[in-house]
Symmetry: C2
Subunit: 199 residues, 2 copies
């Protein structure tokens, strides 16, 4: 009982600090975010970060894992109630576009961290896990589309994920620089992609 509350409080504060760190990272990007700027996004001083995290790498990796939690929670609902193939494609397209519109800075951070993981091995495992769960999410949709269309997928799960991710990343780029048709183009591109991936 007592032990429970103690570790729980500790973990709660870790989460709180990580969430603040994620906001700072989303604002400035990995390269420009220091521990002190992270602390400025909280109500605490910078020294506290080293009470809850051994060093900067542990903090960042914890942030990445936390981001992943929110990510899979968001997408695991999936698009269940679609009766026709095109309805499913449209629902998926709207979902991706909504995700982009809702939190573009978080997705920008995701691509930043994924790039960083190619240089910093400490991030690779967590980033790979997130990539896997995103790939699963995409594949569930492709498989569901194929079933509704009474066809078979003509691509592998990594292939499908790469294609969808390419569309999403480009849309994010254009959305961030202010292109107003980025979201619509993303929706259109996603809708058109589904039929290209089944027999």
């Amino acid at each position: 009982m007592r032990r429970r509350t103690r570790v729980d409080k500790f973990e709660d504060r870790r989460r709180e600090l990580a969430d603040a760190a994620l906001l700072a990272l989303a604002d400035l990007g990995y390269a420009r975010t220091s521990l002190r700027t992270i602390a400025e996004h909280t109500q605490f001083s910078h020294g506290l970060l080293h009470y809850y995290f051994a060093d900067k790498v542990e903090l960042i990796t914890y942030c990445v894992r936390r981001y992943k939690e929110a990510c899979v929670k968001r997408y695991e609902g999936g698009v269940g109630g679609a009766a026709t193939p095109s309805a499913l494609a449209e629902a998926c397209a709207d979902g991706l576009a909504a995700a982009l519109e809702e939190a573009p800075l978080m997705h920008r951070l995701w691509y930043d961290l994924r790039s960083q993981s190619l240089f910093e091995e400490a991030f690779r495992d967590d980033v790979a896990e997130i990539d896997d769960s995103l790939q699963e999410m995409i594949w569930r949709n492709v498989r569901a589309y194929a079933e509704l269309a009474e066809a078979e997928p003509t691509c592998t799960p990594p292939e499908a994920y790469a294609l969808f991710d390419g569309l999403f990343q480009q849309a994010l780029q254009r959305h961030i620089v202010g292109a107003e048709d980025a979201l619509d183009d993303l929706r259109r591109g996603v809708r058109k992609l589904f039929p290209r991936l089944v027999s």
Copy 2:
């Protein structure tokens, strides 16, 4: 005449320093590359960098432009002598896979810089230019494929680029972490993508 040689020497040295900087950036990534580490990749001292470049941003942007030069030069040749659609697709697939295998660290740097451009506005214009030329390169191939197949492209140039880029980026990720089938999967993915993009 004399003036020519002076400015030429100046520009030559700028190029030389930028090339060394690109090697350092490819090694360490943007976030971890300082002016002193760049200087260590040259035969000169760190002070010299400020003789040839006003500040770090100007150096990096110059590097990005220089990278672009090499990029477009490499791809502008294109795949001219293909008689059948599948031959063209295979040539393009081999070209992209070869580019990845030949200089994976440079491509890693490209994706790093593209991510940075989402945070640092100073890089955006140069990055956008490179993206445009890559998009053109992809579109030339898609159009050529459509002609050989006596069909019409069913996608826009940005769409095509996004899809190819998604495949390439994933292949790069997997290649860098040591996946041995990354190159083969990239070739297969590219070959299969062409027929999906024409009527």
